[in-house]
Symmetry: C2
Subunit: 398 residues, 2 copies
Amino acid sequence: MEFHFSERMLTLKPSVIREILKSVTPDMIAFAAGNPSTDTFPIDEMGEIANGLFADKGRIAGILQYGVSEGYQPLRQLCFDRMRGKYQTGGEQDELIITSGGQQAIDLMSKAMLDPGDTVIVEGPSFIGSLNTFRTYQAHLAAVPMQSDGMDLDALEHSLKTEKNVKFIYIISTFQNPSGYTTSLEKRRAILELARKYDVLILEDSPYFELRYEGEYVPNLKSLDTEGRVLFAGSYSKILSAGIRLGYAIGHRDLIAKLVIGKQATDVHTNLFFQVVAAEYMSRYDLDAHIEKARGIYREKRDLMLRCLEEKLPQDVTFSRPQGGLFVWMELPAGSDGKALAALTVEQKVSIVPGNCFMVDDEKVNPGVRLNYSMPSKEQIERGTDILAACIRKYLGR
Amino acid sequence: MEFHFSERMLTLKPSVIREILKSVTPDMIAFAAGNPSTDTFPIDEMGEIANGLFADKGRIAGILQYGVSEGYQPLRQLCFDRMRGKYQTGGEQDELIITSGGQQAIDLMSKAMLDPGDTVIVEGPSFIGSLNTFRTYQAHLAAVPMQSDGMDLDALEHSLKTEKNVKFIYIISTFQNPSGYTTSLEKRRAILELARKYDVLILEDSPYFELRYEGEYVPNLKSLDTEGRVLFAGSYSKILSAGIRLGYAIGHRDLIAKLVIGKQATDVHTNLFFQVVAAEYMSRYDLDAHIEKARGIYREKRDLMLRCLEEKLPQDVTFSRPQGGLFVWMELPAGSDGKALAALTVEQKVSIVPGNCFMVDDEKVNPGVRLNYSMPSKEQIERGTDILAACIRKYLGR
């Protein structure tokens, strides 16, 4: 049987990371993952809520029935109130849609905006999952080099000037995946101004912004947006559970209306049970206190990871020092190949993601590597960085 | 703020049914829904499983973590074994992917196969949700008139001969939505033969086939398929719960591989918790016995609905007599407008879906109406059909 697949499928490859993760065995140290630590999930509280829901016969029947595509109204309200109240994220003209994970917000925005050949400007490096989503809409991807305080503004303006049919700028504004970098407030303002000047939208993907371990909160781009030019994509994956697939998007009501239509045509609505669980959790427990606890767990792991890298890596191997999130970006000396290093570490049962995966041109040799510290245990971080350092020395011939 | 939406969004309208359902108030009799009856959900058993999962600290942590895009392996296995063992659906070359409801299988198949302008041949009438999904891929839709034993074969061959770039035939083979018709075995064989002759695929959407209340099981098209030409889309919405968004697709491994890549780019994976719940349910309880019980509940409702229509409707108003599923298709005398009737009934607090909604050309006046009998109570069926009959007489001026 020979299949004549759509154009969009011809160039698309399975996510390298998800393929790497499939080969991860329990005895492997997974620096390659992007998973939150299960220690941060409020399991007891979610269990209590779930039990209570199933015990309420009248209520559970409705929860196991079809819901509306916009999402469970109480959760929409709680989530939006919190984002507006605590972070001034979302204005009068905005609405909120519940999505099946943050990834679906990226997909629905793409569905609403992108025709084949349209340009999406992305950070280089950027999250491979989103790059692949844009590719399924046959978008042209234009990468703007990432600096430690966000995109290179001159390169961004150059792209906005020269690329054709730019629909939006895709930016992971805080604790970026994979670099760990946070775009500065100054650059956020400048990026919004450039978006206005060239009349393009901004897709702000921000699944990690509440996982800050030090430094001051930098306002979301969306909270600087008075026109409805920014769609903010948020996620419950890193604060409640990743497996329940729960996220949301905040944007101009006209845009959200299109996302709702798109969602009707993909999965109708998000799992209703866990929308109710999340709403009950937010009503009955202190989400902020829970996030504070998760921050404590991650802060220790980040500190340990950074200390290990500091102590063990050769001087000419650099790495980012993220103030939050899940990732460290490490760079081997210029000309090195992260892929070759990954091949060495995986033999020693340490998985890492080579930097080329996060690039628009993923065939080009890249000296970067993404390291995750949220998933491995402290003991694994210690042992894994020993192995990583040894593999680096071997790779560099020292 | 003015948005420049993608081409696909310009012609797309919100699902009429979902809009109708949003306006449904608790005091309304909903013949418009497509919802299963909550009486058929195994709530106690699912609750017991859920409680058990949350009580198992080691296990629940993994279940709330990210999963793989293909789906939870034990559920894939159980589901596939059952479909192969009980229904001979799925062969050696086939694999199974878990989807976020049956609708997502339709979406992922479209993503894998359709370029703008490609043709999908559909039954006329057909399920509005799927038609809208095909529209989001800018497919050209060619409708083949539906007869009580399936598509008009001459019209189907004419379409296959004359339409350009036909990628697949979309068929709801058993207890079709909205007509309630089942395609006969003879026609299934002929449709598969035509698909072979013109080298197109078949997307067999079959969320209702196990809800048979009388007559003999007609083999799924997929079980007649030796080449891997058919993708079978199944659903747990009508046998376990609709709100959990759980479905599956069975097809040739090369095709499923593309669906997996597509899924990575949309929602990464389906809610893992309820994949585990479904797998546990199938291991620990008797799904067949549960379905038999649901059949009993629905059979009574269908019998009542048909008896009411028989007794109350004018002679020249016809309706289908489905052997299963959730829907009856009613037709007013030629030249009538189902939309006008729906406007009358909704005033009297009975919602119905006018037939034009299910047509490729939904602007054209259509004398049909879809009636659902699974959601309303027996008392509501009695009362609702009184109101329906009165509105029909009023509409026809009698």
